[in-house]
Point group: C2
Chain length 138, copies 2
DNA sequence: GTCATTGCAAATGCTTTGCAGTGCC
DNA sequence: GGCACTGCAAAGCATTTGCAATGAC
């Protein structure tokens, strides 16, 4: 069983067939599916699952802090189950493929006090972009 | 006249009343309007300007590299005329207010070779989040 | 049995597109 | 005068919402 599913069960999350399937789809490394992709993969296991249920479940998992919402292109959001190790994303400018990356140092430290405008800065998200090996050669 | 307008003229950009107004709206520091906000401000000066024209013009300015498209929340994109000095953004988690910031060092350097997956990494965009002074007190 | 969760379909928000008319160069 | 640009309205995509039916606890 997936780690995610196990954690949710431990947290007393009400379990239904739909929720289980969504949680199962969101398992693994470098997984960054759109809601639509999650729905397609969920449908393969549970044909009658509704799109709205997928959206509801994803929002709830985000609210629980069990998955992360990633917004790279202003189009469909992507969902990343790797919520328990802080990381950043590397995105291919050609095909959109994403990888989880772990830059050295804390990005927050790069923002000097004089550049904080009195904000209580608590988080930094970084998106690296470039061509992946496949897109470089072709 | 705004710098932006001047540059566009120099580049031989076909000038129309609509385009001029959009370019004029996108002038200043820490300006990050949504397409809708640009449209509202443009309408104040040129009542008959169409929303689609604003969208067209914005896309073109982005393609020309004269403005930057910023996507902070997966909702409406924002447009930033400060395209000629690389910078990052600081966003208030409460009200969404944005500031341009200039972190120390090049964010690209924080990504070690072993974390690049063979990508030709060329760009890093950073979004810092936290509560602004107004949202902290209230 | 109760009440959260689901499915369906309609509504929403943002953006793009098709096409006929306008006006810049 | 040609052709790029505009306006309008309709279409498109991603997402959210309302509500009655279902099913987990």
């Amino acid at each position: 069983m997936s780690d995610l599913l196990e954690r949710l069960r431990d947290r007393g999350w009400r379990m239904t067939a739909q929720r289980r399937v969504v949680a199962e789809v969101l398992d693994g490394d470098h997984v960054h599916y759109t809601a639509d992709e999650v729905h397609a993969r969920a449908t393969a296991r549970l044909p009658e699952i509704a799109r709205a249920t997928v959206y509801n479940t994803l929002s709830e998992l985000v609210a629980l802090g069990e998955i992360i919402e990633v917004n790279t292109d202003g189009r469909a959001k992507r969902y990343d189950p790797n919520a328990h190790h802080t990381h950043q994303h590397l995105v291919c400018s050609g095909c959109g493929t994403m990888r989880d990356v772990h830059p050295s140092g804390d990005p927050l430290h790069a923002l000097p006090e004089g550049e904080r405008y009195g904000f209580a800065v608590s988080e930094a998200t970084v998106i690296y972009r470039g061509l992946c090996p496949d897109c470089t050669t072709s």
